[in-house]
């Protein structure tokens, strides 16, 4: 762990964060808004990477955790008018409960079977939102009376601070002994168990941590947008974007996932003039990365550094 603070990765990350923190001084509100969303997305992708890259659980339903957190926070604020911060906290806790629900099948089934269960969880949540439209706003979306702040710069700093803190915690966790045990239990549960590690406990912890950050980020995003809708926090397509971000940035790197998310959102914006082809181009680039650089951006960079 001590080695990290002297490594090149640490200095590069530090420089990136410092540069990013000064951005509100000289870029437009439009760019800030874009990056704010990208940072929240980065946390989604990092939380997903902890589950997939380390615990080895193929979670097709990151939006089940994100959506639960986002909608809980939104509904509490909408119905009872509780303070924003209380709602965000309760949203994150609801997401932890959702994470435990998701963890139950994960301890029984593996691989594609677990993947499908998570996908079903998302579809159920989506059906729930549509069926209980009185409570959730249905397909139109939920209006949220309060926002954290309307200042673009402040929102940006909150998002950046949140992403940096989450990245530090998740990265630290992944490099800690717990992360190593998780990695072992993901790759060979029988052998890891035979070495005396409690796999169930570690996996549950991974689900809880991942769910907590997903839900927290989802709740913050909702209070930034001022609305929660299926299309922004629940839809399978959103989950696909989270997965693509993590794989693109480099799985099992945590930090790479955030990089991938920022790239995905910024690239999508740059390609906006191409209209309908934007998604096609982003998917094609992602496929090329998957085929030719399976380690992702950060994976490729790190392995080059390791070699030299």
């Amino acid at each position: 762990m001590a080695g990290f603070f002297t490594s090149r990765l640490f200095f590069i990350s530090l420089v990136c964060v410092v540069v990013a923190a000064t951005l509100p001084l000289y870029v437009s509100g439009y760019v800030l808004g874009l990056l704010t969303v990208a940072f929240y997305f980065g946390v989604f992708a990092m939380a997903w990477d902890l589950l997939f890259g380390f615990a080895g659980e193929v979670n097709f339903g990151p939006t089940f955790l994100i959506g639960t957190g986002a909608y809980t926070a939104g509904i509490l604020n909408n119905q009872f008018g509780w303070s924003v911060y209380l709602c965000i906290l309760l949203g994150a806790l609801a997401s932890v409960v959702a994470g435990l629900v998701l963890a139950l099948p994960a301890l029984r089934v593996r691989g594609p079977y677990f993947g499908l269960t998570t996908l079903v969880a998302v579809l159920m949540l989506q059906n729930f939102v549509v069926v209980f439209a009185d409570l959730t706003g249905g397909e139109i979306g939920l209006t949220i009376p309060d926002v954290i702040t309307i200042n673009a710069g402040a929102n940006y700093w909150i998002a950046l601070g949140f992403m940096t803190t989450s990245a530090a915690i998740l990265y630290g966790l992944s490099q800690s002994p717990i992360g190593l045990v998780l990695q072992a239990s993901g790759q060979d549960p029988v052998q890891a168990g035979a070495l005396g590690f409690n796999i169930v406990k570690h996996k549950l912890a991974a689900f809880i941590v991942s769910a907590f950050f997903s839900g927290l980020s989802g709740a913050l995003l909702v209070f930034y947008f001022g609305t929660a809708s299926v299309g922004t926090v629940v839809d399978v397509a959103v989950g696909v974007n989270v997965i693509v971000s993590a794989v693109l940035g480099g799985r099992r790197t945590v930090l790479g996932a955030a990089l991938g998310a920022i790239f995905l959102i910024v690239a999508g914006e740059f390609l906006r003039p191409t209209g309908e082809l934007a998604t096609f181009i982003v998917s094609a680039v992602a496929l090329l990365v998957v085929l030719f650089f399976p380690g992702g951006f950060l994976g490729a960079a790190l392995s080059r550094e390791a070699r030299s």
């Binding site: 193929v58 499908l116 996908l119 079903v120 059906n127 069926v131 696909v240 997965i243 096609f280 998957v290």
Partner: protein, 291 residues
């Protein structure tokens, strides 16, 4: 009369599901690949059939053939562009190939979907039915095309059964799904078996896609739901088990139809999803799956 109507409508949609899921499960059984571009291939077939009829002014039979041909081409493209490079890659560890194939085919499916949306817009397209008109079955007016759809599906599945159980190639495919290494030891080329399977898959998905285009109509938005329904049917029946998929297809098809008729079309997919969750808990390997 409602019961009869549910029986008739449910049969056509179930037969379609069965056809779509059979190819999907065959590929998984033989090569361990879960092809998440499945829905995109079906929609590509339907849109090609539609375009052949309305843009190139071919008759409905040729249009359907064009659709199946396109599905076959896209199926081979999926294998050669996405699946084969990942399977042969040395940089991807073996235990992670599964997730890479999933991600790769998912992205490939999105690419196909976006291309269809770009060239043919997002609007729903209905392929002109091959058989027109309506018949009266004990007081229920049923489009002749529904009966035609059900018949074609049963016929194709019957032919597939003959192919797999009665021909040399088919037996090789069946053997490969049980034990790939054993097949190579017997001197059969595994890559050729893969090609055969992807060809069968392409034709099945193509026929299912074109029939779906006639039956319900498709748009580029149907890609995700189609993949999800095939995936859940196949898991419900047991991955790799063709007969399990057939049973599961009828269970899901009828559950959806009954819910749509008796409760509300809005809740159509919910009971099937619940059933899936219950089966996953009680019998994770699916109805007829083997571990």
């Amino acid at each position: 009369m409602l019961a009869l109507q549910i029986l008739i409508d449910g049969f056509a949609i179930s037969a379609l599901y069965a056809l779509g899921a059979t190819g999907f499960t065959l590929i998984f059984g033989v090569s361990g690949v879960l092809n998440l571009s499945h829905g995109a291939i079906m929609v590509a077939a339907a849109v090609a059939a539609w375009a052949a009829a309305s843009v190139l002014h071919l008759d409905t039979y040729s249009g359907a053939l064009v659709g199946v041909g396109v599905a076959l081409i896209v199926s081979f493209a999926t294998y050669f562009v996405v699946v084969k490079p990942i399977q042969n890659s040395r940089r991807i560890p073996n235990e992670e190939k599964e997730i890479f194939v999933l991600t790769g085919t998912l992205l490939w499916g999105i690419m196909i979907q976006e291309l269809i949306a770009y060239f043919f817009t997002n609007n729903a397209k209905t392929v002109l039915p091959i058989v027109e008109g309506v018949v009266d079955i004990f007081g229920n007016r049923t489009p002749r095309n529904n009966i035609f759809t059900a018949l074609v599906c049963c016929l194709v599945i019957g032919l597939l059964w003959l192919l797999v159980n009665r021909t040399r190639t088919g037996k090789a495919v069946l053997a490969a799904s049980m034990n790939p290494r054993g097949v190579t030891l017997l001197g059969l080329e595994l890559t050729q078996i893969y090609l055969v399977v992807w060809a069968i898959y392409g034709i099945l998905a193509g026929i299912a896609g074109v029939l779906l285009g006639m039956f319900l109509g498709v748009s580029s938005y149907s890609v995700g739901p189609l993949t999800a329904s095939a995936f859940s049917i196949v898991v419900l029946g047991g991955l790799g088990s063709v007969s399990g998929s057939l049973i599961a297809a009828f269970v899901v098809g009828y559950l959806e139809t009954i819910t749509a008729y008796l409760v509300s079309p809005a809740y159509r997919t919910i009971p099937a999803l619940l059933l899936l969750v219950i089966v996953m808990y009680i019998r994770p390997q699916g109805l007829l799956g083997r571990r």
